[in-house]
């Protein structure tokens, strides 16, 4: 599985060249990818004066852990984190609901207009997100038929995330790959469409559900422009939206501490579920679409 054969490795020039490249790459990754985050962690507990005077030195006057608690209480971070969690949870729920039910209907139940519907879903993949921003805002401002406004509500922030063509494609493809014999056997045993979905298909799709779930939560945590537009009230905004607006009026060290808190949670989430993120069979399947 590699372009370096054991024979190649026996050649001194290849072995040392390869080691050199790999070590350089590791050093580069540590400095470029990890470095900025370590700097953020360091500066989160460094007084503003020290960070401004000598940004690279490590605590010239000792670390100050009280900055973190100061950021937590003074900026009221807990409320914004709760907002973020609510939006991420809602976004996850609607994405999983839409992707699993749609994938099941299109792959297993196969309604007559299934191909047309799947085409309409696929087509949205090729519509640039930019095209949707303004009309989506006006739609959410006054929903068709009922006329309700979702602006300023959490639902307005997370419901549109459900319209993800990638999720539907990933789910449908996974369901397509399930052995038909198992589904037919369950049907012969008397399982109806609901039972088949809940007791047979869903339990078999745990791996792909995991992939869809972690990407759904991360995307909601990272989202900026849509919650910014749809949640004008600062009290309802997620932390990522709130930070840039408080940045100009906040003490640098307190701001950096708040940023560190805001980044720490998704990083922790990633480290916990890194297998799901890095295997990312779903992503590759969707890209090859």
């Amino acid at each position: 599985m590699s372009f370096v054969s054991p024979l190649d490795r026996r050649r001194t020039s290849v072995r040392w060249g390869l080691r050199g490249v790999q070590a350089t790459m590791l050093l580069g990754l540590a400095v470029v990818c990890l470095g900025p985050l370590l700097w953020l962690a360091k500066s989160a507990v460094t007084p503003t004066q020290d960070t401004l005077r000598s940004p690279i030195s490590l605590w010239p006057n000792g670390p100050d852990l009280s900055i973190v608690s100061q950021a937590w209480t003074e900026l009221g971070l807990s409320a914004y984190l709760v907002n973020t969690v609510v939006i991420a949870a809602g976004s996850w729920a609607v994405q999983v609901l839409v992707a699993t039910t749609a994938g099941y209907a299109l792959s297993v139940l196969r309604p007559r207009l299934g191909r047309v519907l799947y085409g309409a879903v696929l087509a949205t993949m090729f519509v640039p997100i930019v095209l949707l921003l303004v009309p989506l805002y006006l739609t959410v401002l006054s929903l068709p038929v009922v006329g309700w406004s979702l602006v300023g509500t959490y639902a307005g922030a997370f419901l549109p995330a459900g319209a993800s063509a990638f999720n539907v494609v990933i789910m449908k493809r996974f369901f397509d790959s399930l052995p038909r014999e198992i589904l037919d056997a369950a049907r012969i045993d008397g399982a109806g469409p609901y039972r088949l979905f809940w007791s047979v298909v869903l339990p078999m799709s745990r791996p792909v559900l995991g992939v869809v779930s972690v990407f759904a939560v991360l995307a909601a945590w990272k989202d900026f422009i849509w919650p910014l537009i749809v949640l004008p009230d600062p009290a309802k905004q997620p932390i990522a939206v709130r930070l840039p607006s408080i940045a100009p009026t906040t003490d640098l060290s307190v701001l950096l501490a708040a940023m560190a808190i805001s980044a720490a949670l998704p990083i922790l989430f990633f480290l916990l579920f890194q297998r799901l993120f890095l295997r990312s069979e779903g992503l590759e399947g969707a890209v090859k679409g």
Binding site: M1, F3, D8, L18, V21, M25, L26, L29, C33, P36, L37, L40, R53, P55, I56, V94, T101, A102, Y104, A105, V108, L109, P111, A120, T124, V127, P128, V130, L131, L132, L133, V134, P135, Y137, P160, G162, A163, V168, D184, R187, G190, P193, Y194, F197, I225, I229, I239, V241, L243, A247, L252, L256, P266, I267, L271, E281, L283, E284, V287, K288
Partner: protein
């Protein structure tokens, strides 16, 4: 519930011997279930995707202030946008951003993935480090890089450059530096995602091809050139057009770093759309021009992808 036949059973020979009434009943139970399962998708895609897309075309021909009824204005919105002196600036900046992002951002993940795939151990650690910036919320990443880009001699980057005797660089303050600075941050934030896609594709290269190349006397670089890269061709073609479409819609970096400044040097097309619709400087509310420009951009990107896929059809496997 026990005898709800799925469509597979309905299509079977059972259909012939059942009465009309039971066929209808069965269809209703099966069809109703199908509808129940389709409902979330129909509602969510209908409301938040299909309807807004359809609405764009209509809205680009209207003038609306959200208070009174919308007014048909023909192509007036398109004329307004095309006559905007900021449009050429935004177009140029977006093109420069996309070009720079291509030059820096396209080869880096490929090189990384190829080096990663040569590892026998610790591949997970490398991938983990590379993916780390991807999970940082973009707003936090931009604020962090903003402190790095501080133009004074005490800024983080300028301090480091000062060690090797390079004078303070006006990262975000000069018209010449601002776009490369934004591209650097954007590349940092996005490269890891592409690396993972390439890594997944690299694991599917058949070992026999490498063995055959070795037998023909190919060295390591020869195998990368003649086996690895050709195998990645179709993935590379897709990530290229996806990157172009993505960078053409760059918004977050200019919005948060500079707000489009200095003196419109980082104003991008999407920022201009945002300014029309929601902007604070112009007062916003110009939904007509905003949708007109969105529509033109969408058509241009769709055309670009179509031409791209036609041109490259023969190259992909």
């Amino acid at each position: 519930m026990s005898r709800v036949g799925g469509p597979a059973l309905v299509r079977g020979p059972a259909r012939r011997r059942t009465s009309v009434a039971s066929v209808v009943a069965r269809w209703w139970r099966g069809g109703a279930a199908t509808l129940v399962f389709l409902l979330p998708m129909l509602l969510v895609f209908g409301l938040f995707s299909w309807w807004p897309i359809a609405r764009t075309a209509v809205m680009s021909l209207q003038e609306t202030n959200l208070v009174g009824p919308a007014e048909w204005v023909g192509l007036e919105n398109f004329r307004t946008v095309l006559a905007d002196p900021l449009l050429p600036t935004a177009l140029r900046n977006t093109a420069v951003f996309a070009a720079l992002a291509f030059v820096f951002g396209y080869p880096i993940p490929l090189v990384m993935a190829v080096v990663f795939s040569s590892l026998r151990r610790l591949r997970g650690l490398y991938a983990c480090l590379a993916y780390l910036p991807v999970v940082v919320p973009p707003a936090v990443a931009v604020l962090l890089w903003k402190t790095f880009y501080d133009a004074g001699s005490g800024g983080v980057f300028n301090t480091i450059l000062g060690w090797v005797g390079i004078g303070p660089v006006p990262w975000l303050e000069s018209a010449g530096w601002v776009l490369p600075s934004l591209v650097m941050e954007a590349t940092w934030a996005a490269a890891g995602g592409t690396v993972i896609i390439y890594l997944a594709a690299l694991t599917t290269v058949p070992q026999e091809l490498y063995d055959a190349a070795s037998a023909d006397g190919a060295g390591v670089l020869g195998k990368i050139w003649h086996v690895t890269l050709p195998h990645l061709r179709s993935v590379l073609l897709i990530t290229l057009i996806l990157q172009i479409i993505g960078t053409a819609q760059v918004f977050l970096e200019p919005y948060l770093f500079t707000g489009g400044g200095p003196s419109h040097a980082s104003l991008t097309l999407l920022l201009l759309i945002y300014e029309y619709a929601f902007g604070s400087t112009t007062g916003g509310g110009d939904y007509g021009p905003a949708t007109a420009l969105s529509l033109m951009m969408a058509v241009a990107l769709a055309l670009l992808s179509w031409i791209y896929f036609r041109l490259t059809r023969g190259w992909s496997d």
